[in-house]
Symmetry: C2
Subunit: 614 residues, 2 copies
C-alpha cells in the first residue's frame, strides 16, 4: 500500500535507458539558465533602498550611483565568465574549477559556499515570489510563511517526479517576465520624459535613524549586489548548448548580462523618479508598477504574476544544481554516498529532499522575509565567484593556451573585483546575518573532511589487499546458542536449524518468572532432544543482561577458527499492529548483539516462524 | 551513556527480593487510601454550584438539599462497601468482582470504566490542585496547563523510580489537610453562629441563562456526585491492613466516610452562608477560606497549600491503581503482555508511562479545566460502583454465607442507588462530555476482546500439542544465497560462513552501476573461490526488487526438507553517526525478507564485520 501511495505521488519508476539529454538552442537556454539571475532584479533594488532609507528618505538619491557601481561590477563579472566559457568549456562550476586548479581544500570551500547558496536561493526566491503575490493580494500577507512553504513543497514534489528541464516550459514565463519588465520600464521612462509622472501616494517622510556614513553606503552596495546572483549559471551548463557549445553559451551570457543591467538600472532609476519609498507589505516593484500603470491595471497584475512566476522558477533551478553538486561531492566521498543514488524517477531524490527541507526550515526560521535572508545570501555567492575566477587565472597560468595573458587580465580583474566585494559584504553584513554563513562554512568543510576520512578508513579496512590486517579464515567449528523463552513451534524450528549446523548446541533461557521457568524445564524434559538447557538467573528481571553476559563468556572461550552462532527463534505475527502485543525481545537482542562490537567470530541467525491466524 | 542517564533519572535496578509489603495501621491506612476520596471535597461543591448558577444566583440556595441527597447516597455506598469488605476480604476491585461474579464481559466493562477513571482521576485532581495554587497566586493562572503537565511529569517520574507507598509520607499532608479543612469549617460555623460573617466582596448578581428545571437540578446533583469518587479505595486494598484485616479496613472506611460527609456538607453549607458565587480564576474553597480567615491570613494559605498537596497525592494513587489493574488485565491476556513487566525498579513502568502520557494529553486537551473534565469523570466511577455492588449481590446469592440476606439488602440498595445515579449522570451530562466515555467504553471492550483473541490464536499456532498443524521438520539440505555489493573482507567472512553450511552456495549481486559491476566481476574471478556469482539486472536501479524476486524463485524451487539460508555480509562501523554515511541495504533487506511472509523455509544470517578505525 505504501508503494502504491508512493507511485501515485511520484509516478512509476523510469528505466535508466529513459534518461535523455536535451540540447538547448540559445533562445531556450536563455530561459533555462537565466531565471535565477534575472529574477534578482525583483528584489535587488529594494534591498539597496531599504538600507539607504535608514539615513532618511533623502539618502535614497544615492541609489543611482550605487546601482551604477553594481552594474559595472556586473559587467566585469560577466566578462570574466564570458572568458571562462572559452577557457573551461566543460563547465563544472566553482567546486570543480577550484578543486582542479587551487587544490582540494579550496574546492571544499567553494562546495560549501555553493551548497549554502543553493539553499538560500530557494528561500530568498520563494519569499520574494510570495512578496510579489502578497503585494498584489494584501490579504495573503499574514499567510506568507505558509504560502512559501507550500511553494517549496510543490517544487520539491515536482522535482521528485523528475520535472524535465524542458526549454519550452521555462521559455514562456521567462520571456513574459522580460517583456513585462521591459514594458514597464519603457512606459515609465516615456512618462518621465514627457513629465507625466503620477507620484506614488505620498507616505510620511521617514526620519533618519542612522547617519549616512560610508559604512552605510557600502552596506547598501552589498545588498544591491544580490543582483549578481545566478550570473554563473550559463558558464556551469555549457555542455547543454547545441554545438558550437562555447560560442552559443557565451553569446547567451552576453544577452543575459545586457538584459540584467538594463532591467536593474531601469528599476532603480524609475524608483527614484517616481519617489518610491520601501515599505512593509508591498514590494518596490509592485509600488512602481502601480505608479506606472495605475491601480488595478491588468499590466500591473501581469508584472506581479510574471515576477512571482520567475522567482519560483529561479528556486526550481537550485533543485537541479544542489542535488547534482551534492552527488559530485558524494562521488568524491565528501558527502554521504546515498546522495549519488539516482532514484527510480532518474533524479537524485535524497538531494532534492534535503534541499527542500533545509530551504523550508530556513524560510520558516526567518519568517518568510526576503530582507532577513539577504545578508546571508551574498557571502556565499561572492566567495564562489572569487574562487572560480582565481581558479581560472591559475588555469590560464598553467595551460598557457593562446591568448592566456589577456585571459589572466580579464579573470584577474574579475577575481580582484569579486574578492573586494566579498570583503565588503562580509564586513558590512556581518552582524546582520553574514556571520552565520561565515561560521557555518568551516564547519561544513570540516564535515566534508571527516566524511572523506571515514570512507578512506572503511575502504582500507575492508580491502582484501590491505596487507597488515589478517584475512577472515574459514570456519572450523560451530558453537551454537539458542536463546529461548518457551517451548513452542518457533523454538523447535530454531533447534532443528541449530542442530543442522553443529552438535555443539546449547539452549539458554533467562529465569524472570520462576513459575514460567519451571514449566519450560518440564516441557524441555518431555522434548527429550539431547540439547542441554541452561537457565540463567536474573535478579533484576532483565532478559538482555544475563543473556549477553552468558554469550560473552562462551565467546571468550572460543578456540581459533571457531565461530559462535546465535540462533534466534522469532515468530512473525500476521498483522503489524500485533507487534504491539509482544515483547520485542528477539529484535532487541539482535540489535544489542550486533552493535556491542565483539572481537570474536559471532554470527546471528534469525529463524522466522510465521503465524497465519489471529 | 543512555544507560547512565537512565540510572541517574530512575535509579539503580532493584532485586526482586527487595520487594517489601508494608502492612498499614488504621491511622496510616486512612492517609494512604483516602486522599482520592477526601480530596474531592475540594471541587465537588464548586461543580454543583457552577451548574446551579446557570439559573441565576438565586438558584444557589438549592445546593443544600442537593448536598444532603449526595450525602445520603454517600452513606449508602459506604455502607455497601463496608459490607463488601467482609464479604470479599481479598479486595480486588470492580474488575475482579465483576469478572468472577457476573462473567468476563461485565469484568471487561468494569475494567474499561476503571482504566478511564484512573486517567481522569489524575487529570481532574491535578487540574483542581493547580486551581488551588492559582487561586492563591493568580499570576500563575495563565500557566495552568504547563503547571499541570509539570506535576504529572513529576508524579510519573517519582513512580518510575518506585515511590514507596510509605504511610508516613502520606500521613502528614493528609492529616494536615483534614485538620485545616475542619478548622476552616469550625471557624466558619462559629462566625456564622455569632453573626460575624464577613460577606465576600459582592460580585455582580449573575442573571439566569437557563430555566431552573428538574433537569438542571439533576445535572447539579450529577456534578456534586464527584464527591464520591475514590470511596472504593479501601475495599480494594484490604490486604494492606494489619490483621484483623477486614475489621481494621471497615473501621477505617467508616472513619473516612464520616470525614467525607462532614467536610462536603460543611463546605456546601458555608458557601451558601458566606454568599460564595463560583467565578473563573478562583476556586470556591479559596473564596471561602479567604472570607473566613481574611485576605492574606496564614490559615488561608495553609488551606490552599494542603488542598493542592492532597490533590496531587490523589493523582498519585492512580499511579498505583492503573498499572496494577493493567497488569492484572494483561495477565488475563486482555491487554498487551508488556504491561505485566515489572521494571528494574520493581514497578510496572509501561503502565505508569501510559497513564502519565494519557493524563497529560487529556489535561492539555481540556485546557487544564476541572469543570470541562468533570462530565467525563462520574460516568465511569458510577458504572464501576454499580457493577461491583451487583457483583457482591451475586456473590452473596451464590455463597450464602451467614447473614447473606442482610448483605443482599445492603449491596442491593447500593446497586440500585448507584445504578439510578449512573443513569442520571449519563443523561444529564451526555452532551457535556459523558458521551465521550460512553462511546469509548465499548471500543475499549472490543479492543480487550481482539487482544485476547490474538493471544489465543498465537498460543494455538505455537503450541506443540496442537494436532492439526504439522510440526517443523529437521533440515535435510542447505541451499545458501549470499547477496553481495562488492568483494571485501565482509564478503569474504560471509562466504566462509556460507560454505561451512553447504556446498550449494550462490553469490548474487544487483547490477545498478555497470562499471562497479564489471569491477566486482573481475575481483570475483581473482578470488577463484568455486562459488558462482549471479548478476541480476535492475533497469530501475533498485537493489531490493531484483534480489527479492531472485530469492523468491530459488525459494519456490526448494525440495521438501530443504532450507534456504540467506547470508548477509554486514559491516558495523565504529560510531553510530557513520550509519548515516552508508546505504542501509542489509538492514532493509533483512526487514523485507522477514516481513514478506514466505511459505518456504527461509533463514536469515547476519555475518557482522566490525570496523575499528574511522
Amino acid at each position: 500500500m505504501g508503494l502504491n501511495v508512493r507511485r501515485l505521488l511520484v509516478g512509476s519508476p523510469l528505466e535508466t535507458s529513459q534518461a535523455v539529454h536535451e540540447r538547448l538552442s540559445k533562445v531556450k537556454a536563455l530561459a533555462v539558465f537565466s531565471s535565477d539571475a534575472l529574477s534578482s532584479v525583483a528584489y535587488a533594488t529594494e534591498e539597496m533602498l531599504l538600507v539607504l532609507v535608514l539615513a532618511g528618505t533623502g539618502a535614497l538619491a544615492l541609489s543611482w550611483p550605487i546601482a551604477l557601481a553594481i552594474a559595472t561590477l556586473l559587467v566585469i563579472v560577466a566578462t570574466s565568465y564570458y572568458q571562462g566559457i572559452h577557457a573551461y568549456p566543460s563547465g563544472g562550476g566553482a567546486y570543480i574549477i577550484s578543486k582542479e586548479n587551487l587544490g582540494v581544500m579550496f574546492g571544499l570551500v567553494a562546495g560549501a559556499a555553493l551548497l549554502i547558496d543553493y539553499i538560500l536561493t530557494v528561500a530568498v526566491s520563494v519569499s520574494a515570489g510570495v512578496a510579489a503575490i502578497t503585494s498584489a493580494v494584501p490579504s495573503l500577507y499574514d499567510h506568507r510563511v505558509a504560502l512559501g512553504i507550500l511553494f517549496i513543497v510543490l517544487i520539491t514534489w515536482g522535482n521528485l517526479r523528475g520535472v524535465r528541464e524542458s526549454g519550452t516550459i521555462f521559455a514562456i514565463p521567462t520571456y513574459l517576465f522580460i517583456v513585462s519588465f521591459l514594458m514597464m520600464i519603457g512606459t515609465g521612462l516615456a512618462r518621465a520624459m514627457t513629465g507625466q509622472i503620477i507620484r506614488a501616494p505620498v507616505r510620511e517622510t521617514i526620519e533618519p535613524t542612522h547617519a549616512l556614513t560610508l559604512f552605510l553606503i557600502l552596506r547598501a552596495f552589498s545588498s544591491g549586489c544580490t543582483a549578481l546572483t545566478g550570473i554563473e549559471a550559463i558558464s556551469n551548463g555549457v555542455m547543454a548548448f547545441k554545438p558550437p557549445e562555447a560560442r552559443n553559451a557565451s553569446r547567451t551570457l552576453a544577452a543575459m548580462a545586457t538584459l540584467l543591467v538594463t532591467m536593474f538600472l531601469g528599476i532603480t532609476w524609475l524608483s527614484r523618479a517616481y519617489g518610491i519609498v520601501p515599505v512593509e507589505g508591498e514590494t518596490v516593484v509592485s509600488q512602481l508598477a502601480r505608479a506606472i500603470f495605475g491601480d488595478g491595471s491588468p499590466f500591473y497584475f501581469l508584472v506581479q504574476a510574471t515576477t512571482a512566476f520567475i522567482l519560483i522558477l529561479a528556486a526550481n533551478t537550485s533543485f537541479n544544481g544542489f542535488p547534482r553538486l551534492a552527488s559530485l561531492m558524494a562521488r568524491d566521498r565528501f558527502l554521504p554516498r546515498q546522495l549519488t543514488n539516482l532514484g527510480d524517477r532518474l533524479v537524485f531524490s535524497n538531494g532534492i529532499l534535503i534541499l527542500g527541507g533545509m530551504a523550508a526550515a530556513l524560510l520558516a526560521l526567518f519568517g518568510g522575509s526576503t530582507h532577513a535572508l539577504i545578508p546571508l545570501y551574498a557571502v556565499g555567492v561572492f566567495l564562489s565567484f572569487t574562487l572560480a575566477q582565481v581558479g581560472l587565472v591559475r588555469h590560464s597560468l598553467r595551460e598557457r593556451e593562446p591568448g592566456w595573458r589577456r585571459n589572466i587580465i580579464i579573470n584577474g580583474t574579475g577575481a580582484v573585483a569579486t574578492g573586494v566585494v566579498l570583503l565588503v559584504i562580509a564586513i558590512t553584513k556581518f552582524i546582520h546575518g553574514a556571520w552565520i554563513v561565515i561560521v557555518l562554512m568551516p564547519m561544513l568543510v570540516r564535515m566534508f573532511q571527516a566524511i572523506h576520512h571515514h570512507y578512506q578508513m572503511v575502504r582500507r579496512q575492508l580491502s582484501i589487499r590491505t596487507p597488515d590486517i589478517p584475512l577472515p579464515q574459514p570456519v572450523r567449528h560451530h558453537r551454537v546458542i539458542v536463546p529461548i523463552s518457551g517451548v513452542h513451534r518457533g523454538t523447535l524450528k530454531a533447534l532443528h536449524y541449530a542442530r543442522s549446523l553443529s552438535d555443539d548446541v546449547t539452549a539458554v533461557m533467562v529465569d524472570v518468572e520462576p513459575e514460567q521457568t519451571q514449566r519450560v524445564r518440564e516441557q524441555w524434559e518431555e522434548l527429550n532432544c539431547s540439547v542441554p538447557l541452561v537457565v540463567l538467573p536474573s535478579p533484576y528481571r532483565s532478559v538482555q543482561g544475563p543473556l549477553i553476559r552468558y554469550i560473552d563468556q562462551v565467546s571468550a572461550s572460543l578456540g581459533k577458527g571457531d565461530t559462535l552462532t546465535i540462533v534466534l527463534p522469532e515468530f512473525v505475527p500476521k498483522r503489524s499492529w500485533h507487534y504491539l502485543l509482544h515483547n520485542q525481545t528477539a529484535l532487541l537482542l539482535k540489535a544489542t548483539l550486533l552493535y556491542r562490537r565483539t572481537e570474536h567470530n559471532e554470527v546471528i541467525v534469525d529463524v522466522p516462524y510465521y503465524l497465519y491466524e489471529g
